[in-house]
């Protein structure tokens, strides 16, 4: 592979229910600190959620917040933080050579629910339906708001990929960089899902919405007493570049994206499929030209649903049963950040390249034998020494799977 095809991560911006920077997020992952709290949602009353508390006005005016969406606001915050972290000389960057690729699980539900609620106060008179509804709900909204805020005139896409979307943002970035469509990609995933009651109600109707008297204990991947998903909001966005571009400006390189894959189960609207997940991970490793023994950490998707965890555990056992790789999970700390999940899950693991530690999966007190996994990092971080490769696994509804493999960059 030529250096022009080597893709690296050079800046990170994130907001998570337990941290608004990589350093804070990482520290809380190592400390076992949850970001899940009690939360009120329209019609349903109290639920549990992962709620972000970033500084919305750091990069936007009050009017921007009023005009735009929560997904847009999260994306704008994370994208600006990533660019600032990247050390790019942003005023002199050719903005027509910057692409924005942001994964999302769903979009438009928040605004649609809000508008229907609003017109319900006017006997459903559609004349009071907001003129802001369409620009807020177009599927490109989150990435589009980033371009508006940052003066980016290159391409932008918001990628709908269910809960595989965070990885999809990184994958799109890598592909567009390799095609030389852009020189810099601002890429990752976002979620505003806690602001729509529908997602909570739908998971509840499926019997897949987590409940627990202690919110911090509610998300329990692989545990016998897991009882579903904790919905979360969040965002994880990176600046991504071709290696020579990054080296030429002396950029800090967090990681190299060495492999990726996406595939489809073609089987069920909701239920995941261990066979296709395993194929997706194997394809990513094949493209990365590595074998299973070279993976040090597997960041599992693990939503803490009954069947989701069983299927994923089956796929992971198939590949990693005899390997040295340790397996961890992020949702146990923050809930399911939907479109941001894959991005946050990968980013929270990147500091392992420097500190050699794998953070844990928490709230695992009674392992479900059907989810037994080799080298599962349970409740306490584990010192690994040298970490070179991380595999980030994600999957979502309609049978979409995505995998990204990153490697420590050694110049």
């Amino acid at each position: 592979m030529s250096d022009q095809d080597r893709i690296v991560i050079t800046g990170i911006g994130l907001t998570s229910p337990n941290g608004n920077s990589l350093a804070e997020f990482r520290q809380n992952l190592l400390n076992g600190k949850s970001g899940v709290v009690d939360y009120e949602t329209r019609y349903m009353g109290p639920v549990l959620a992962g709620v972000c508390n970033f500084d919305e006005l750091r990069y936007q005016k009050k009017k921007d917040l009023r005009r735009g969406t929560r997904a847009g606001s999260i994306a704008v915050y994370c994208a600006n933080e990533a660019v600032r972290d990247s050390g790019l000389d942003w005023p002199n960057v050719a903005r027509d050579r910057v692409g924005v690729y942001i994964g999302i699980t769903e979009h438009g539900n928040v605004e649609t629910e809000n508008e229907i609620y609003e017109i319900s106060k006017f006997q459903y008179d559609t004349k009071v339906w907001s003129h802001h509804h369409n620009p807020r709900t177009v599927a490109n909204n989150a990435a589009g708001e980033v371009t508006l805020n940052m003066g980016i005139t290159g391409p932008h896409l918001t990628l709908g990929a269910a809960c595989a979307a965070g990885n999809a943002g990184f994958i799109q970035a890598a592909q567009m960089l390799r095609l030389d469509e852009v020189d810099i990609a601002v890429a990752g995933g976002v979620s505003e899902s806690i602001h729509t009651f529908g997602i909570f109600a739908s998971f509840a109707a499926q019997g897949a919405l987590a409940t627990h008297e202690d919110p911090t204990k509610a998300c329990r991947p692989f545990d016998m007493n897991r009882n579903g998903i904790v919905v979360a909001e969040g965002g994880g966005i990176c600046t991504v570049e071709r290696l020579p571009h990054a080296l030429a400006r002396g950029a800090k390189i967090y990681a190299e994206i060495i492999g990726y894959a996406m595939n489809s189960d073609a089987r069920d609207f909701v239920l995941p499929d261990a066979n296709r997940q395993a194929e997706c991970m194997q394809l990513a490793m094949k493209r990365a030209k590595i074998n299973v023994d070279q993976i040090d950490i597997v960041s599992s998707h693990a939503t803490a649903t009954e069947q989701g965890d069983i299927e994923e555990a089956s796929a992971l056992r198939r590949i990693f049963a005899d390997s040295k790789a340790v397996i961890n999970n992020t949702k146990s700390f923050i809930g399911h950040a939907m479109g941001a999940a894959g991005a946050l899950e990968m980013l929270g693991n990147l500091p392992s390249f420097d500190d050699g530690i794998a953070h844990a999966t928490i709230n695992l007190d009674d392992l479900d034998p059907r989810c037994a996994l080799p080298n599962l990092v349970i409740n306490q971080p584990r010192e690994l020494g040298n970490v070179n490769c991380i595999l980030n696994n994600s999957f979502g509804m309609l049978g979409i799977n995505s995998v990204v493999i990153v490697r420590k960059y050694v110049g």
């Binding site: 009050k62 009017k63 009023r66 004349k127 009071v128 003129h131």
Partner: protein, 87 residues
Amino acid sequence: MTSDQIRQVILEILERIAPDEDLTDLDDVRPFREQMELDSMDFLDIVMELRKMYRIQIPEEDYPNLNTMAGTVSYLMPRLKDVAVGA
């Protein structure tokens, strides 16, 4: 409502749709757009707020009447004269 009361209502609407602006010294006879960031979507917010608050339908051909505070108050006076504040 009196003209002063209508002015106050408009001012409160402007404060909501342009929360970053300082409207203390708003000149009633100069166009809004010369004094604050106000694009066409914001302008529609003014129309929408009036519709929600007072069920007033303002036809598009009348929009030029709403370019200034004085024009807006003058336009709304006959339409809101029988409306109580806060109605």
